[in-house]
Point group: C2
DNA sequence: TTTAAAAATAGGATTAATTCCTACTTTCAA
DNA sequence: TTGAAAGTAGGAATTAATCCTATTTTTAAA
C-alpha cells in the first residue's frame, strides 16, 4: 500500500481540518507550523498534484490568489464569490443541475464538471454598504 | 456630453471587434497596433474601469491570466472553461436561471450576478485525447 | 478665454503569486 | 542492495498586474 510522503500527508491533514477556502499561502503557513522544514514549493507542487487527482478543487478569483477546497465526503457543491469582498460561500445544487448540464453540453460540447461551478455575486453585507 | 479618452475609446473599439475572450496582453497588443504610444498600464487601468462600469466582464482562470468579454447588445451569458486546454466558451441560459438564483440566494444570502457564471468542464477534443 | 483642479496617461519600478531549477534525500521495485 | 523514480528544500526566475511619478489632457468655473 503506497503512502503519501510525509509532507503531502501533512498538507492533506491541514486542509481536512479547514472549513473555509484557504489560499496556498495559508496552507503553507499552517503546514509549516506542524513541520517547520516544509518548503513553499512543496506546498504549491502538492496542491497541483491533489487538484490533478481530484482530491481538492481549485477556485480562481479575480484580483486575488486561488482558493482551495478539500472535497472529503461532502456533497459536490458550487462556490459563489462576492465580487466586492471576495468571500467564498458554498452552495448545494438544490436546483435542476441535470437540466443545466444538458443545456450547456448541447450548446458548447463541453461537459460540466460538478465541482467546477463558480458564480460571482454580491453578498448581503456588501449590498447594504 | 462627456467622451471617453482617445485611449479608452480605442480599447473599447478593439474589444468590440473581438469574438473570443482576450487577455489584457492581447488587448494591449492590438490597441498598440492602432496607437503605438498607448501604454500597458493604461490598458490595465481602463479594463478595470470598464469592469466597474459593467461594460465588460472579467473572467478569472486558474493557471492563466484573466480573460475579458465585451457585453455589447448580446444576451447575458455564462462561460465554460475547459479545464484541460483553457479555452472559454459562451453559453446562454436555456435552463431555469431563476430557480438557480433563488436556490443560491436562499442558501448563502449572496445574489448571483447574471454575467458572473463560470463553469469548469472538459471539452470534446480534450475528452477524446 | 484664462486658469485651477481633476482625470488620465506613459513608462518604468514594484509587488504578488506561482513556477522553475538544482542538488540532495527518500521510496520503490527488482 | 542498488539503480531508477519520485519527492524535497531553498532560492532564483517568471508572469500578471498594480503602483508611482512626472507630464498631459480635460473639465468647469471665473
Amino acid at each position: 500500500m503506497k503512502n503519501y510522503s510525509k509532507q503531502r500527508q501533512e498538507i492533506i491533514d491541514v486542509m481536512r481540518e479547514m472549513y473555509h477556502h484557504p489560499t496556498a499561502e495559508e496552507i503553507y503557513f499552517l503546514t509549516k507550523q506542524r513541520d517547520s522544514s516544509v518548503s513553499r514549493s512543496t506546498v504549491y507542487r502538492n496542491l497541483n498534484v491533489l487538484v490533478q487527482k481530484g482530491m481538492i478543487t481549485q477556485i480562481a478569483v479575480s484580483n486575488g490568489p486561488d482558493r482551495y477546497d478539500y472535497i472529503q465526503n461532502r456533497q459536490k457543491h458550487g462556490h459563489i464569490i462576492c465580487k466586492n469582498c471576495g468571500k467564498v460561500y458554498d452552495f448545494l445544487y438544490n436546483f435542476n443541475l441535470e437540466e443545466m448540464k444538458e443545456s450547456i453540453t448541447n450548446q458548447t460540447g463541453v461537459e460540466l464538471l460538478e465541482d467546477g461551478i463558480v458564480i460571482k455575486g454580491i453578498c448581503n453585507s456588501c449590498k447594504k454598504a
